[in-house]
Amino acid sequence: MIAPKEIRKQGGKSLKITWSDNHPSEYTFRLLRQNCQCAMCVDERSGAQILKKEEVPVALDGLQVNIVGNYALGITFGDGHSTGIFVYKHLRKICPCEQCKAESKPAEAKIYLDKEDLKTRVD
């Protein structure tokens, strides 16, 4: 299972993760907030997006990052939101680097898979 080797919170702006396969990922806290999977942001049953991603402030800070068990991160954002559990598998999937973006391009099938994943997710 994929897991981080190193987690660096770079001020309030971004989070850098080096994965067990040495792949580096760097996320802005805005991107993370937009991808929050908690029940307030994503409907638990249908998997439909509730949070309007474009309404997340452009400059949103991350206040605190803590490790949840062996499998996820908990993040407290500048807007006070802290209910999301960011599972490592999901974090890796949303890596914004060019290489990962290119790999996840065959969009249609992937999106459907995401929904299936959501139904079985464990937070």
């Binding site: 299972m1 897991a3 981080p4 080797k5 190193e6 987690i7 660096r8 919170k9 770079q10 001020g11 309030g12 702006k13 990052v65 803590n66 490790i67 949840v68 068990g69 062996n70 499998y71 996820a72 991160l73 559990i85 490592y88 464990v122």
Partner: protein, 360 residues
Amino acid sequence: MPIEISDAQVLEALKSVQDPDLHKDIVSLGFIQNLRICEGTVAFDINLTTPACPVKELLQSQARDAVAAIPGVEQVNVTMKAEVKATKGPDTAALKGVKNIVAIGSGKGGVGKSTVAANIAVAFAMDGAKVGLLDADIYGPSIPIMMGQPGETLIRDNLIQPKVAHGIKFMSMGFFAQGDQPLIWRGPMAHRAVEQCLTDVEWGDLDYLFVDLPPGTGDVHLTLVQTVPLAGAVIVSTPQDLGLTISKKTLRMLQETNVKILGIVENMSYYLCTHCNERENIFGRGGAKDASLKMGIPFLGEIPLDTAIRKNSDGGAPIVISEPKSASAKIYRDIARALAAQISIANFNSVKLEVVEEPA
């Protein structure tokens, strides 16, 4: 004139002794301490990663033989010690004295999870480890009866005092509702109770804290995997297909949350007839072993259906301590040692993870 023996010579000889689980020699692993040489006598300690090491005797005799083979050595004194390494997870303020938290789970109820948990915990203590046992089964808390200590717990300085019996500390969900009273809780209550049992109980310094889970994949499991870094989990199953299929669900849930599966224990493996001593495989044979092989998970052992195990559990003293010479007690001791080895391996291979804060 006796031959002069050097430290380097002794260490070189000891490098030939390998730890079969960690796949390294005992010198590189830092096990050798307190090396003293006085003329023909060589003395040293071997500091293992668990007192319940299954190869303790083997390492001791191999080390002794290796050093005795050095010219000039007349006597070798090997002292076996152990210092349990902690799970390298995030530091949580609570439970800071607890080195390893190990969950014991099953898919179905009634596979003997609590009996296995109680016997394994006591077996670890008999090998010299400091052990705690948390009975987190809100539906059927059975540890108080098995440990012979029902009744309420004491609270001191706002901390719940765990009970002590048979050499281990233990706490049970059963203490929240006495006698035949059930715990009728929705998720948030179960969550809070588990959290409280982990953080508001004065566990003190423990090498191992075993958590006896309820069956399935519910609130208690989620709280546990989200609240503490687990050293790993043990799955208890019966050999029959149905039990195994459902056990795999619990196993997959734990894997999904990155919990290392330390091994599978097969309970109620067979019945030894008390009259003719013939082995009767009531639930089929070797199911759990086959499944563990297929999934690449260590198989820790098979426990027979034995009236004595049941009687001792009901009587408030696990069989490992009440009938230590019985065949079933020996099986439990071996399983405990196999598990101790797996925990040491897991800790040896893991890296400590923390969030590093950098200025912007």
